[in-house]
């Protein structure tokens, strides 16, 4: 277990690189699917694909700046599709991207359990930040259901288990 949580292996400290088109296509696909899938499964779309993509690239690139920028862009694009102020999801994803990259430097993120826990925790953090920004910073009336947020976090954790290995296959080989 100690071996899992410490960066002893050189492979874990390597910065993973991806082809440029992956940096464009994957976030775009995440946005499109996030906007399209709820049409099929209605209100049971307990997922946040842009956040998952942000976490994935931040963890694997191990670059806080990269995670910050990617989170900001994806979050603001997410806000652009909603009826709310632009920046709410942007700030949440920015913080999550930064923290994910910071954590990725310190722990091994190959383990599926760790990935699931990280996705669950970051999803809860993002939801809490959205509520905080909307109700406290913007002072807007906003109701939220903690059960929905828990389900969304759980859904992100489960989707991450399938999505992250899929995205691992896209990394550039040396």
């Amino acid at each position: 277990m100690a071996q899992v949580l410490t960066p002893d292996y050189r492979r874990d400290l390597e910065i993973r690189r991806y082809p440029t088109y992956i940096y464009i296509l994957v976030p775009l696909a995440a946005l499109v699917l996030q906007a399209w899938l709820p049409r099929l499964i209605g209100r049971f779309a307990y997922m946040d694909l842009p956040l998952l993509v942000t976490i994935y690239f931040a963890l694997n690139r191990r670059s806080p700046i990269h995670g910050t920028v990617l989170g900001a862009v994806l979050g603001m694009a997410q806000d652009g599709l909603t009826a709310r102020a632009v920046g709410i999801h942007g700030i949440a994803n920015t913080v999550c991207g930064f923290l994910a990259a910071s954590i990725g430097i310190r722990i091994v993120v190959e383990n599926n359990l760790i990935r699931m826990v990280l996705n669950f925790m970051f999803s809860l953090l993002a939801s809490a930040m959205v509520v905080f920004i909307t109700r406290v910073l913007l002072g807007l009336e906003f109701q939220w259901n903690w059960l929905d947020e828990l389900l969304r976090a759980a859904g992100n954790g489960a989707i991450g288990l399938a999505l992250f290995p899929l995205l691992d296959r896209t990394q550039a080989r040396d």
Binding site: I65, G80, A83, G87, E141
Partner: protein
């Protein structure tokens, strides 16, 4: 200084990104101003151009792919339904054609009612239509966030859509257009927390504002606790928000919840009539003026013709009834004002008929009122029961010279109704035999027996002076 930035580069970038976005949020909140015309708090907010640009970029980035996915899905579905699943299509087509014919007739009736309603509304100076110009649109995406209930449509300003237009389906209202771009538009659904629509409960006529809650259910807020509100009550648009026309179905009351923050208020949870979670096609109301398609106009003409035939038949029936009434005897109230001249259906006086031989107007015989039998007949009453014991069983038939037409009412035994005259009575003074006319105001002399024993002829009875003016 350089070492500081290089050492804390990550944190500096993070803080810069956060600061920029916080400033952006602050600018948006400052620039967001409510639209006064909407009349609904929180409904219809306008944003700055930069925010609109971000939304435009996001939409342009996502919606082409969504449109592609939607089109591909539609194509595959069409391939299946149009080529692979065509069994029993002819039979279905025949049945559907019958249904269409029936529905057209029903629609024509409804259109007639709708036009009547519009005329009434015009009289009341309501500038509301009942049939509206709409533009169909396809739903191609959502916001992707459960906290923001937004739909994206495949039509935009190029199709004549504008912000704040109402979006409906055949089942009920969906929402209103929020942002409209060139080829796409964004719908704020009624179950979003920032939406707002004026609604009225159909039965109790309680008005309120509809908006979404955290669970994504539309609810009517700010209503004082009222025990009359029961589940199942229909909820309609009130029409006061200048977005949704009045009377469109919103849904039905699902349950009533007490407002946690304000105890005397309740929130009425509404089950939406439209399937908000599963929408494919919607209609955008682009104008509130009445628009009738050529087919609808043809149906309306058919309906009016049918209705005209019914009216003509009804007039014929009334005319026949009137003729029958003229032939049959009836009681006429003599106190009723005599119409000066006959009038036609339009209220215009009818000219008297002209005799073709003489060229003179044909005199219209006056209406002779029939003498009513006295309520308490006595021997002074015309035709009353004779006081003479010899007359108990006899009936005074009047003088031989009296014609049946001008004969006074005959006496009848007690308990026997007076016979009804077969012909209308003539007016006093029009008696066929001079001297037999009963002078108005001439009372029967007391002591004169109106009935003779053994069928003895009695003098011509003189009508008694009516007590209540009945002649």
């Amino acid at each position: 200084m350089e070492s500081f930035f290089s050492r804390y580069r990550n944190l500096v970038v993070l803080l810069a990104a956060l600061l920029l976005q916080v400033i952006g949020l602050a600018v948006q909140v400052r620039k967001t101003v409510p639209v006064e015309a909407s009349g609904v708090p929180g409904a219809g907010l306008r944003e700055g151009r930069s925010v609109q640009l971000i939304r435009l970029w996001a939409a342009d980035m996502v919606t082409p792919f969504e449109r592609g996915i939607h089109g591909t899905g539609q194509g595959l579905t069409g391939l299946w339904t149009n080529y692979l699943d065509l069994r029993h299509t002819r039979d279905e087509n025949r049945e559907l054609q019958k249904t269409i014919d029936r529905l057209r007739l029903e629609q024509a009736t409804l259109l007639e009612d709708a036009r009547q309603g519009q005329r009434l509304q015009t009289l009341e100076k309501f500038r509301e239509g009942y049939i509206y110009a709409t533009t169909p649109a396809q739903v191609i995406g959502t916001s992707g966030s459960s906290q923001s209930h937004v739909l994206w449509l495949d039509k935009g300003a190029d199709s004549g859509l504008k912000p704040d237009m109402a979006v409906i389906t055949g089942d009920g209202i969906v929402g209103k257009l929020r942002d409209v771009f060139e080829h796409t538009s964004q719908v704020l659904v009624i179950n979003d927390q920032t939406s707002g629509a004026g609604v009225v409960l159909a039965t109790t006529r309680i008005r309120g504002i509809l908006r979404g809650n955290a669970a994504g259910q539309p609810q009517v807020i700010n209503i004082l606790a009222d025990t009359r509100i029961l589940p199942g009550e229909p909820v309609l648009t009130a029409g006061g928000d200048q977005i949704f026309p009045r009377g469109l179905p919103v849904g039905v009351v699902e349950r009533v919840e007490r407002d946690r923050e304000r105890g005397s208020f309740i929130n009425v949870i509404v089950k939406p009539a439209a399937k908000l979670d599963n929408l494919d096609e919607v209609l955008v109301i682009t104008a509130l003026d009445a628009r009738l398609s050529p087919q609808q106009m043809a149906d309306l003409t058919t309906s009016e013709e049918l209705k005209g035939a019914e009216v003509a038949a009804d007039i014929e029936r009334k005319k026949a009834a009137a003729e029958m009434a003229e032939r049959l005897p009836g009681l006429v109230d003599p106190n009723a004002p005599v119409p000066a001249t006959a009038k036609d259906a339009n209220g215009k006086p009818i000219a008297p008929a002209i005799d073709p031989k003489t060229g003179q107007p044909v005199p219209v015989p006056p209406v002779i009122p029939k003498a009513l039998p006295a309520k308490h007949p006595d021997r002074f009453s015309p035709g009353g029961v004779s006081t003479g014991g010899a007359n108990l069983g006899g009936v005074d038939a009047g003088s031989p010279g009296d014609s049946g037409a001008d004969a006074a009412p005959v006496a009848a035994p007690v308990g026997v109704k007076p016979p009804v005259a077969k012909k209308p009575l003539t007016a006093p003074g029009t008696a066929t035999k001079p001297g037999t006319a009963a002078k108005p105001g001439t009372a029967t002399k007391p002591g004169v027996r109106t009935g003779g024993a053994g069928g003895m002829k009695s003098p011509a009875p003189k009508p008694a002076k009516p007590k209540n003016g009945v002649q």
